[in-house]
């Protein structure tokens, strides 16, 4: 991978990681469609992507640093006391139970999941599936809105009928957390399935995005810290890769700010349609070798 390709990948990953369009899917598909020489099956590719994820996780930490201090403090307070007394403590515990399923599934299915990284066809297929999932989540949400907020006049009023991140059930947090594991498949978006899961669990769109971003941080950081040592095992252009990670972080920060504003009134549908279209076009391009 040349230096400019690495930087491009960094920008692409950072820009697509938090949008519900699967950064991994794009990272597998785009190089194949552009006929770049490097292979996704290369042993350094997954650690490279992981380093980019670390850039993204850093951006999320910067974005939510005040909240993370409160959450960590609340976590230890509640853990020692053995009782939840505040919203911050409840959110901290929700994040813990939401992170564990992804950690278990990640550790035990790591190898099988990595097998998918080599195939852009599978990434295109999963991208279509991701798009259909996003559209499906919004269909379920619209049904809930008709049920819960039939008298509401505006989008803001409709959203107000739903809850915030600290008030979903623990079972919902476990299910949303387990959904994160789907994102190990290139083409399935971590933020997409967790935002969608949050919507089905009754969160407002903006809160679903916030919960998704908070949930992603320990998962991405954990996976990154475990994978990064592999970067030092071979002849890896570390300076270029770190530059790419910085670009990924900057792009992710801008994306997160945009999405939090977007989801005050926006929905997942445009991203769902984009994923279906991008997957179908990728299939066609790959099939005809264009």
């Amino acid at each position: 991978m040349s230096w400019w390709q690495a930087l491009f990948m960094g920008l692409l990953q950072g820009a697509t990681e938090l949008f519900p369009v699967s950064s991994l899917g794009h990272a597998v598909l785009v190089p194949s469609l552009l006929h770049w020489a490097f292979k996704q099956s290369d042993p350094s590719f997954v650690p490279f992507l992981t380093l980019l994820h670390l850039g993204t996780a850093t951006a999320l930490l910067v974005l939510y640093w005040r909240q993370w201090i409160q959450i960590i403090r609340a976590f230890f307070t509640a853990a020692v006391r053995g009782r939840i007394a505040t919203d911050d403590e409840r959110l901290a515990m929700l994040l813990m139970v939401g992170t564990l399923p992804a950690a278990i599934l990640g550790v035990y299915f790591e190898n099988r999941i990595k097998g998918f990284f080599a195939s852009p066809y599978e990434a295109a297929g999963f991208l279509i599936a991701n798009g259909l999932l996003m559209l499906g989540f919004e269909v379920l949400r619209r049904r809930a809105e008709r049920r819960e907020a039939a008298s509401a006049q505006t989008r803001a009023e409709v959203e107000e009928r739903f809850t915030d991140a600290a008030h979903i059930s623990f079972l919902a947090a476990v299910i949303v957390g387990a959904c994160q594991a789907l994102a190990f498949l290139p083409g399935i978006s971590r933020s997409g399935v967790t935002i969608g899961g949050g919507l089905v669990a009754g969160l407002r769109h903006e809160e679903a995005a916030r919960f998704s971003f908070l949930l992603a941080t320990p998962t991405i950081l954990g996976a990154g810290i475990l994978e990064v040592p592999q970067l030092f095992s071979g002849s890896v252009p570390l300076a270029t890769y770190v530059g790419a990670a910085v670009l990924a972080g900057l792009a992710a920060y801008a994306s997160a700010r945009f999405l939090l504003r977007y989801f005050r009134s926006g929905r997942l549908d445009p991203y769902g349609w984009y994923c279906v279209a991008a997957g179908l076009i990728s299939f066609a391009l790959l099939h005809f070798g264009l």
Binding site: V80, L100, A103
Partner: protein
């Protein structure tokens, strides 16, 4: 419930040690590796989570 979670925590810590020493080779990516630190860390985290769960479910003095 509380005692059950403490037992789960102890089992998790034992599994963490066994994975760390390389004695346990269940569902590992490289069976030839002498240590499986990823699995070890996972089971330590699960053990701590089980202890927190035990603390939440124990009967508290009012």
């Amino acid at each position: 419930m509380s005692i059950g979670l403490v037992v789960v925590a102890v089992v998790c810590f034992v599994l963490a040690v066994l994975y760390g020493l390389g004695v346990l080779q269940i569902a590992v990516s490289d069976p030839h590796s002498p240590h499986h630190y990823t699995h070890m860390i996972l089971f330590i985290v699960l053990g701590v989570a089980a202890l927190i769960g035990a603390n939440f479910t124990r009967q508290k003095a009012v």
